[in-house]
């Protein structure tokens, strides 16, 4: 074997084969890591609209025709939106199995019973399984401990098949 070839074999082993062995080790050790519970997707909401409408800021939410929420998750943080009311969004955080999100001002005005500083807060829990399909929690006015809260239940809708391109 010539000097050039020997150098090539050495460099190849050191820079290609060795790192690939390292990759196998990384993949093996990573299997034990635990990621945040999956909440991403479309959820159909079940709640008492009349009760929700009685909450400050609750009228707008109760008036959404298709009671579905869409959650776009990035690790422990998520963005919540309502497909039927794109202007209403919320950003939130996932702490273990507990979700907490504050809805934006939702066009706050006294006409719809919404005063400043009282957007709704969503507090919910989810099962810590990839296939968890149930989300249960409450909507309540932020910074208003005396106010009532409205319970809800949400069921995750089946994801659209990835088949068929984008």
């Amino acid at each position: 074997m010539s000097g050039t070839n020997r150098k090539f074999v050495f460099a190849y082993s050191f820079l290609v084969i060795l790192p690939l062995l390292g990759l196998a080790g990384i993949l093996k050790s990573g299997r034990h890591l635990q990621a945040p519970a999956s909440i991403d997707g479309l959820w159909s909401l079940q709640l008492d609209s009349a009760q929700l409408a009685s909450l400050p800021c609750g009228k707008i939410l109760a008036g959404i025709p298709d009671q579905a929420i869409s959650i776009s998750q990035s690790g422990n943080s998520f963005v919540l939106s309502f497909p039927s009311a794109p202007k209403i969004t919320a950003s939130g955080a996932l702490d273990g199995t507990t979700l907490r999100a504050s809805l934006n001002d939702m066009g706050a005005s006294k006409d719809n019973g919404c005063t400043d500083g009282q957007p709704l807060t969503m507090l919910a829990r989810v099962d810590r399984h990839a296939d968890s399909k149930i989300l249960a929690g409450t909507f309540s006015p932020t910074n208003c401990p005396a106010c009532a809260s409205v319970s809800f239940k949400a069921e995750r809708q089946a994801a659209a098949s990835p088949q068929g391109g984008h």
Partner: protein, 427 residues
């Protein structure tokens, strides 16, 4: 039914903004593609949606995005066909030691570093619906890609295509792209197989069978049908061009049906096409203009609409983003530089090669969009990776000018066999 007014308005605005920013970036010696990638970000929620949510909602109502996406995907399908067309697998077999080492290291180094980074990012930016293995493999594949067409453009603009550095860079980029796509195909199959009832062996068997038919059957048919006609008449009839396009689309449909993705089929069809340089140029000339000027800007815009820099809220998110950029650059630029230097290249030239290999451009965006679509990466991670793609592509020209002035690179005899007709315009 699509709202035709909205769709045409969207296309008009996208084309205008892409042309403007592309031209602006050209003034700063950047490839047009960098400006167009940037234009996508400008039109998305990160800039337009942040400055004027009303204008953004009027121009890009959520209900209209499906049509825009469909159009942009047709563009990417044709683009991948053209990328495959520019790669000649035969010529890649006869590489020098330097090219072999650099190409393999430029895949393994960023791949392993990205997997290492995945150990840190997985608990922070992923969720239980994605396994660590898929997450790490995707991160590896996304970070090890090199934008073959953008690279070809930069080399052509700097008159480096015939230099030894240019030769090695273009050969390595081709190897990286083919390898990256194979790894990505594997990940997509794994993820989709988990969601479907079809057994994975059936999917893999179908893919292998399809590839064998394409490589050992279709290739010769194409040679007989197209190349021989082209050699005889110096052109191809409209019917045969339409047939060619039809084959690319049919191949894309086959791979989609087999459970990989549309883009693999069109790429494979391009790769098995006859490689007579004049024939390749002839086909490119007929497809490039419409793809580059009309369809790809739509893809950039759609990617920009999916990129929300607002999701990177808080110092921790920006820290993750910085880590991603550092790891991607360190793995690709650093790995290629070390490999080039160990292969006997002068350090400056090896660093130039590393810089070129670090160009990710449009290919990265294509891969990231697939990752977001199959949900192996989250929207925030997608945005970070898009920023990484922009940063690494943007830095190529200035860094190259800094460490490899023109006179240090030319001329040199051709040592590595490379495709003679690169996609000069596809950037």
């Amino acid at each position: 039914m699509p709202n035709l007014f909205t769709l045409v308005l969207q296309i008009t605005v996208i084309l205008a903004v892409c042309r403007l920013t592309g031209s602006l970036f050209r003034r700063f010696h950047q490839p047009r593609v960098v400006g167009e990638m940037f234009a996508g970000i400008l039109l998305g929620p990160s800039v337009l949606g942040w400055i004027s949510p009303q204008a953004s909602a009027y121009l890009f109502p959520p209900s209209s995005l499906g049509f825009l996406n469909a159009l942009s995907q047709v563009g990417v399908v044709i683009f991948m066909f053209l990328v495959g067309l520019g790669i000649d697998p035969k010529k890649l077999k006869h590489q020098s030691h330097a090219a072999v080492l650099v190409s393999h290291v430029s895949i393994t180094a960023p791949f392993v570093l990205a997997s290492l980074l995945a150990l840190y990012l997985y608990p922070r930016l992923s969720d239980t619906s994605v396994s660590f293995t898929n997450f790490a493999l995707f991160m590896g594949a996304a970070m090890s890609v090199t934008a073959f067409p953008v690279l070809a453009r930069i080399l052509t603009e700097r008159d480096m295509m015939k230099s030894s550095l240019g030769n090695i860079a273009i050969a390595c980029a081709a190897v990286d792209d083919v390898t990256g796509w194979c790894i990505l195909a594997y990940i997509v199959v794994l993820i989709r197989a988990a969601q479907q009832t079809t057994p994975i062996w059936l999917t893999l068997g179908g893919i292998v069978l399809f590839a064998v038919i394409m490589i050992y059957g279709m290739r010769f048919l194409l040679s007989a049908l197209l190349e021989s006609t082209f050699r005889k008449y110096g052109e191809i009839s409209e019917n045969r061009m339409a047939f060619l396009l039809l084959l690319a689309l049919a191949s894309a449909l086959c791979t989609e049906r087999l459970g990989i993705h549309l883009l693999f089929g069109s790429f494979l069809m391009g790769a098995i096409m006859p490689k007579d340089p004049k024939f390749v140029r002839y086909v490119l000339d007929r497809f490039e203009t419409i793809t580059i000027t009309l369809l790809l800007p739509l893809f950039f815009a759609f990617t920009g609409l999916r990129t929300n820099i607002g999701l990177l809220s808080g110092p921790s998110m920006w820290f993750y983003c910085t880590l991603i950029i550092l790891v991607a650059t360190g793995g690709k630029l650093g790995g290629s530089t070390i490999a080039g230097w160990l292969s006997g290249m002068p350090l400056r030239e090896a660093a130039g090669l590393g810089t070129l290999m670090n160009t990710r451009g449009l290919m990265e965006l294509v891969i990231l969009n697939i990752g977001l679509e199959i949900k192996v990466i989250s929207p925030a991670l997608f945005s970070m990776m898009v920023l990484m793609a922009l940063f690494t592509t943007f830095m190529t020209t200035p860094v190259l000018e800094l460490i490899c002035p023109d006179q240090a690179l030319r001329p040199a005899p051709q040592r590595v066999a490379v495709p003679e007709v690169p996609l000069q315009e596809l950037a």
